[in-house]
Amino acid sequence: MNPVDAGRRDFLGRSAAFAGVALAPGVVLYEIALARETGKAASPAVRWGMLVDTTRCASGCTACVDACHAEHGIPAAVRPTDAQWIRKVELKDLRTGAIRSAPVMCQHCAEPPCVDVCPTGASFKRADGIVLVDRHTCIGCRYCMMACPYKARSFVHEPTTGQKTDTPRGKGCVESCNLCVHRVDKGGAPACVEACAQAGHRAIVFGDLNDPASEIAVRVRAATTTQLRADLRTDNGVLYQGL
């Protein structure tokens, strides 16, 4: 290697390191800028949602499910009593024979039946569209599970182990996908969305459906999407493309 090349390489290395150091706080600040301030209520101007592109979702891939389990400290679902926050459903069109695959989780409905039926108000919808369960007022009646059209809710059937700080879980209460609210409030994306991207599929897009410039809003405008059980008019925050 001649001295000129060595000097060039050294310069490029230093420049890259400098750029990294200079940009990193910017990236962090950008995330903080998107994050919700502590103590500030969720904004009704925002409608968090997800777009699932079933043409990109790989059959047999469970990256989103595994990531969800790891994020929330949920054991793999084996028995009918095990928690099912998100599951992969393999689909076959009965008319055309077309094969699709899609994750199903809480659909974060604008008109959630689970919230309507909850006797104590433990099931609630945040102003930004995220549907949650207040573990302090859930009495474990499971009426929300009867009402959910998507089998999206789980009852904690036994004592829990390996709980995560951000995801309190407790025997006798109902739980479901919380859209990784702890990440979203810090400006991040749900674990399933990141995992799908890392697996190279990018089949799930997360964002603010109310922000016309967001990727999800752009995609939803451009492509035909469907809401599961649209006949119920629950106006789901999770949209599916390619069904």
Partner: protein
């Protein structure tokens, strides 16, 4: 109108200081079943619902079958009091106290099961202090508590002679309240828009009809048992009137059940569900036809209307058959309705680790069965102690001359 004119002057059911035959043994048996049930509930609470047959698909199991039966029967047990107070029938009015006592006992049993089957029964105070008024479940809590208060007041007014004039207006209030209560209980299911087995405005009137039949069946059995315990048979004419009434109620339930299923069969999208419930869903189709249609409907109809079966034993058998049929019908309705797969992707065949598109498994476990039986035991104990403490039995001297038949 004076309430209970004859009973007021009759000797007490049992001479003071003596216990009726077998009282202690019956009370001990009831208490033993209740103790086992409480133990089962404790076991379920300690280990979680993992020790039941329920899962994340069939979320309401056998305890709900018992609870809904007891709650509906509670409303129906008030039939006799309602006919007495609302329609002024003297023969019924004399049995209003027993009718009200049974209503209270059955409701207490049903609510016990419902509460102990909660994931967090110790949070009952939250249910009593946090109300979501969009929830029919929250309304039902108010309706159940109101029913207790009104029927308790009604019972008191029937037992305390100086309040007798008030028993008619309170009886009318109780009648209206029980119809609203049963409408509310039916609406718990009727409002479940997503499930093919439930979402129907017909569920509320069906539940009212079921309560009329089941509660009367329980009343007939209780009245018969009490009469034989005392060695004072129920006046024949009165029993025959109740027998005919039971037949009419059973026919009403059958009619509404048929309409519900026929309506579903008319809709193409409901056809797979009806096929499951009526034809090939095990054990639901068998329970529907053999349990509900055969034992719970045809048998009591024959026993209620065929002149060959006019005796007291046949009437008791009819009542028993109605109760057996009720459990079969509720099992099919509550568990079959959940076991049938939710149609989340219409037009697609589905497969997943959460059994999408498959029938949900459910096999009731022993703790669940014990908890359910505990509700029956509590109702039995309250009724037993009630008839022991209060003079609830109208003796033959009460029967108006010429009987009550019309």
């Amino acid at each position: 109108m004076s309430a209970r004119p004859a009973t007021a002057h009759s000797p007490p059911a049992w001479p003071t200081g003596t216990a009726p035959r077998g009282f202690a043994a019956l009370a001990a048996a009831g208490a033993a079943v209740l103790a086992v049930a409480l133990g089962a509930a404790h076991y379920m609470e300690e280990h979680g619902h993992v020790v039941t047959g329920m899962g994340n698909e069939v979320v309401w199991g056998l305890p709900h079958v018992f609870a809904i039966f007891l709650i509906l029967a509670a409303s129906g047990a008030l039939n006799v009091a309602s006919v007495g107070s609302v329609f002024g029938e003297a023969a019924y009015k004399r049995r209003a106290a027993l009718s009200a006592l049974l209503a209270l006992a059955l409701l207490a049993g049903g609510l016990m099961v419902l509460v102990l089957d909660l994931g967090r029964p110790e949070r009952l105070v939250i249910a009593a202090t946090h109300y979501n008024f969009r929830s029919i479940f929250a309304w039902n809590m108010i309706l159940y508590n109101g029913f207790f208060a009104i029927v308790l007041a009604y019972l008191w007014m029937n037992l305390e002679r100086r309040f007798a004039p008030l028993s008619t207006p309170v009886g009318i209030l109780a009648f209206v309240w029980r119809i609203v209560l049963t409408t509310g209980t039916g609406s718990i299911f009727g409002f479940l828009v997503a499930r093919q087995g439930y979402a129907s405005g017909l569920v509320a009137p069906l539940f009212i009809a079921m309560s009329l039949a089941w509660g009367l069946a329980v009343f007939l059995l209780a009245q018969g048992a009490l009469a034989s315990w005392h060695g004072a048979p129920v006046p024949e004419s009165f029993r025959l009137r109740l027998r005919r009434l039971l037949g009419i109620f059973v026919a009403t339930v059958a009619h509404l059940t048929a309409v519900l299923h026929l309506t579903n069969l008319y809709w193409a999208k409901q056809a797979p569900f009806e096929r499951f419930i009526l034809l090939d869903g095990a054990p639901y189709a068998f329970l529907f036809w053999a349990g509900y249609a055969g034992v719970g409907t045809v048998l009591p109809l024959v026993l209620a209307f065929h002149p060959r079966f006019a005796g007291p034993r046949a009437t008791a058998l009819a009542a028993l058959a109605v109760i057996v049929g009720a459990f079969a019908q509720l099992y099919v309705f509550i568990i079959g309705g959940q076991a049938f797969p939710l149609e989340i992707f219409p037009g697609y065949a589905t497969a997943s680790a959460f059994r999408d598109g498959e029938v949900a498994p459910y096999v009731p476990s022993l703790p669940e069965a014990f908890l359910g039986l505990g509700g029956v035991a509590l109702a039995f104990l309250i009724a037993l102690v009630g008839v022991r403490l209060f003079d609830m039995l109208p003796r033959e001297s009460d029967a108006e001359p010429g009987g009550a038949a019309r």
